[in-house]
Symmetry: C2
Subunit: 334 residues, 2 copies
Amino acid sequence: MKPTIRDVAKMAEVSISTVSRVMNAPETVVESKRNRVIEAIQTLQYQPNAFARGLIYKKSFTLGLLIPDIENLYFAGVIRGMQDACIKLGYSLMICNTDRDKERLLSYIDAFHEKQVDGIVFASDVLYPEYYEKLVGCRIPFVLVSSHSDEYDIPCVEIDDEVAAYDAVKFLIELGHKQIGMIGFNHDNSISGPPRYDGFVRALNEFGLEHNMEKIKFANHRFEHAYQAAHELFTEYPDITAVFCVADEFAMGTISYLKDRNIHVPGQVSVVGFDNLRMSTMFIPKLTTIAQPIYELGYRAAEKIHELLSTGSVKVKREKMEHKLIVRESSREK
Amino acid sequence: MKPTIRDVAKMAEVSISTVSRVMNAPETVVESKRNRVIEAIQTLQYQPNAFARGLIYKKSFTLGLLIPDIENLYFAGVIRGMQDACIKLGYSLMICNTDRDKERLLSYIDAFHEKQVDGIVFASDVLYPEYYEKLVGCRIPFVLVSSHSDEYDIPCVEIDDEVAAYDAVKFLIELGHKQIGMIGFNHDNSISGPPRYDGFVRALNEFGLEHNMEKIKFANHRFEHAYQAAHELFTEYPDITAVFCVADEFAMGTISYLKDRNIHVPGQVSVVGFDNLRMSTMFIPKLTTIAQPIYELGYRAAEKIHELLSTGSVKVKREKMEHKLIVRESSREK
DNA sequence: TCCTTTTTAGAAAACCTTTTCAAGGTGATT
DNA sequence: AATCACCTTGAAAAGGTTTTCTAAAAAGGA
């Protein structure tokens, strides 16, 4: 049986109140007793019971993180950042991978509710009304990371997807490309799909390249879909010389397709990705891409939910972090 | 304030015992009251408090998972498998990423202890005495996944690394390669380093290729290290035509190096990886590799800790799962 | 020395749930 | 009609901790 505060009290020959005080307000206990208690705690390897504590504090000192796809390296970075922040702030972290499954997500919220997590970070996914209703029903505060909501007024941390996409496309244009395609996220099940599309469109408009407006295919988060989308794009528009991909994984899928078609990247076609995953430097060719401050996004999200929990509100509701274009080997002047 | 069982009882005009019974043994409550209670639960969005429950059951219905590197896609698979098993078995999962840091790992064990996790799965890492001592000190049962311990008698689930490595090297030999190198894990901070090395050596011995015995460089888990190791390997032994890499990430590092040196894979050098990560089909060329049943390893690990928790012991202590060589594009006949 | 103030420590209540125990009520059996 | 068994329900204890309240002891002042 795990030792309880009673066992410690008995061994140190004091009351349980004194033991509790040694742990929570040591200065109120005389040194001799304090030392006896500390010694007893160590020999018994006593660890206070989080259940009993939680019952009193009505806090679990635990945060929940909901991510859509653990096999996407993007979230590894978010997790690392968030976990580091949690350590700093004294929280434990409960990570749940929804595999983009609504039912599963909803049942994870139930689990969070039951486990009384103090707050939830919701990553990169559309905040559907069902989610929102459930979350507020559970009275669990939450923030969004790499996401936002126009419908509801929820704190969030993200980059400016529209500007980032614009920057990427502008870069391709300034490289001299005139025939530019895009592989984007479906608009109905992604949060960054529309703004990145908007950025693409704005760049085309600004540089008088409206004839590319149709050269878009949408894919569903994964390599294989991007490969397929690239196939459709290049079958329909064989004269494309540059592709803006809204994810590094899409860029890899596109490049793989081009490779299979014996089209050289960046010799014949330039490709720029998005995210700057660790993979983007491992891939051949190394990807030109928009770098997101992934780790920092996770870190800030944790800080933000902490701010919300401890002060009841957040200073800046919609927080933007900086992106950066990183030029590597998958792009070249036309 | 979150509603408690009292609020439900009051709304349904029954005692709290009845509410509890509706949740835990519905058939013992007459239908009319039961329905009233169920209705009250729904309108209040009542969720029983896991703290109070844990206090009584002395169980948290939570498992802990310790992984060394969340940025390694290998663990994404383990997590998915384990999470699915947890859902089936009624556990929540607490994932902690140690970044291969001893201190951090130890402090995560403390956190697990305090949160009263029922059991821990320890992934792919050496079970150092400090870890072992701490774990038994906390009286938390645990199992190993993709790992084992010769020193201590701990249940584990893994593949047969020695045989898997042997199979990979044998494959290269049967392709006609005579000059074979290897990029391995350091033996002192990896669990699969030694057996995979042994498999390499056994294959060489068996086919009379002992002259390759020295053609080994060790790397430290990451792409960059493998790139560097490949550099050393090929500088020292420029006539190598095949490389056995003990991780897909090493294979990618090696291939990147060769690419930079303008050595064609598989034209001039064959490379085989290990793990069959999702990346191995995204890389160019697609990797020939040893497939581990990663998802299943995670799944089995959860089942195993559950077995240990519910029956007090485990039927097969050291469990081996099947690996499989998958031939793709990074290898070719000599 | 005696009274007041401060410091220290123990007893008990509270947090929320499950479960045991006992009691009241119903229906069936004799 | 009386007894018995069973079904249904509520009261109360238990689980481990923190915290409030109270009491005792120590320290300080007159």
